[in-house]
Amino acid sequence: MLRLESLTKRYRTGDLALSEISLAIPAGQVVGLIGPSGAGKSTLIRCVNRLVEPTSGRIWLDDLELTRLGRRGLRHARRRMGMIFQEYALVERLTVMENLLSGRLGYVSFWSSLIRRFPPADIENAFRLLDRVGLMEHADKRADALSGGQRQRVGIARALAQEPEILLVDEPTASLDPKTSRQIMRLLREVCAERGLAAIVNIHDVLLAREFMMRIVGLRAGAIVYDGGPDGLTPAVLTEIYGEEDWAASSDLSDTGPSPRPGVPDTDELVGAL
């Protein structure tokens, strides 16, 4: 269970990125964080693992108050939170396997990581994850030899290698084509379900969010303006989050996307809901 309490972040430039955000995410819940660029989505997930230091407010992961941790404590806590990035953020010149094993860095000593000697159990688990994301034969390739979709799979596997309790996902599909985007979102949902992982997913694409998220939190100018199910994203709500726009028209546009499959709401239904 992740709990944010009055989380506020003001950057040194004076910009207020987040103001008094309070949010609770139970285990196993996959939450989509939507909102316009600059609304504070990236800042929010970076405050959780303190890649960005919050200005005030508190964050708990179960009973551990993340905002009070010292350096060592923070390193240990970061192991429990896997992060997935927009541009994959793989270490391009390292092999796929090294990237995967880098998810174990918080658990092994500097010296064994320096000579790339990871415990056999870690290696076995890394191969299992690689197989899970379907990249078994690419283990020894350098990360920069992979396609975008493959890289993001490595990114997901790296985050899972940490054995996290929650995933922090920053625009996972922003650099991917529509089909690959859906595959990646589906993979995320599946691994979260398999492992009972909670996730916060920053996402631009409202239709993807509606299709794959259990709960949607809408952020505007650093404040929560919507918190509810994906069905509640009416044009009025979208206008509240993003500002005035012809939402029905942009939904129509998505009709050119891949044809609906069973279990996925028909795009026509979505338009109807708007």
């Binding site: 890649l51 970061r78 896997g82 990035f85 953020a89 390292l94 880098s102 174990r104 500097f110 320096l114």
Partner: protein, 269 residues
């Protein structure tokens, strides 16, 4: 209004760098006057020039018939000394410049460390090799030790600066991703930064190796050992054929290192 009614200019010229015409011409005139006066100030001794012309031709003549044989033992000893000096100085210089370069990268080093490392780099870069060599010759006497110290010192300024700048240019997202896994500072340095800068570090080290070899020939002239000392002796004795042989060997060795380092750099990218 129809489009045909508007008349557009048919000529266009790029605006000049200095827009004020009078100022522009004043600057041109000033530069010209300075050039004329400057050339006038160079004293040319025509007698010395014709004498030197002859000596220069003899020197070039040496290249037509370089003499590798008569001073071969000296040349060989000088070359071996130079190569030893170059290699040891490069290795030691690179080993020292790695921590200095990391310390001089603004994005990872705390401010006092950054300032100290930048100061060291500035010191090393501001002193030309010959001046450093003269200093070390005065401190440790004639010979290759002075040369080794000079080249190692010069390598630190060169390599640490370029390494630091390379570290400042790395992709921050990769570093952030490694930090997010709970990795410690050293692990972030290894996985997030080292992996990004290693190819360039190897390339720069090899580049510095051939710079150091060339420099070793120059600093030998002020007494810091190596083939430069042999070259200096040959020139002092007016043995231009032996001097030519030495210069040809230096050129060949530089070409070989250039070729090898280019090949290695191509492989490690």
């Amino acid at each position: 209004m129809s489009e045909g009614a508007t008349r557009y200019p048919r000529h266009w010229r790029r605006p000049p760098l200095i827009s004020d015409g009078r100022l522009r011409w004043a600057i041109y005139a000033g530069v010209l006057v300075y050039l004329v006066v400057g050339i006038g100030a160079v004293e040319v001794n025509w007698g010395r020039l014709s004498e030197g012309w002859e000596r220069g031709l003899r020197f070039l003549g040496g290249f037509v018939e370089p003499d590798f044989i008569s001073r071969w033992d000296d040349i060989r000893a000088g070359l071996i000394e130079s190569l030893a000096m170059t290699l040891t100085a490069t290795v030691v210089g690179v080993l020292i410049s790695i921590p200095v370069g990391i310390g001089a990268a603004r994005n990872i080093a705390p401010s006092p460390v950054y300032l100290a490392c930048r100061a060291l780099i500035a010191l090393s870069r501001s002193l030309q090799e010959i001046i450093v060599a003269i200093l070390f010759v005065a401190m440790v006497g004639f010979g290759p030790l002075a040369g080794f110290l000079t080249l190692a010192f010069a390598t630190i300024g060169f390599l640490a600066k370029l390494l630091a700048e390379d570290i400042e240019d790395i992709d921050a997202a990769q570093v952030e991703a490694i930090r997010a896994t709970g990795a410690g500072w050293w692990q972030v340095l290894d996985y997030g930064i080292r992996s990004q800068v290693t190819p360039r570090l190897i390339g720069l080290s090899l580049y510095r190796l051939d710079i150091n070899f060339r420099e070793s020939a120059v600093i030998g002239i002020v007494g810091a050992g190596g083939v430069g000392a042999t070259l200096n002796t040959a020139l002092d004795r007016y043995e231009y054929d032996s001097a030519a042989a030495i210069l040809i060997l230096i050129i060949v060795i530089v070409l070989v290192t250039e070729y090898v380092s280019g090949w290695v750099r191509g492989r490690v990218q």
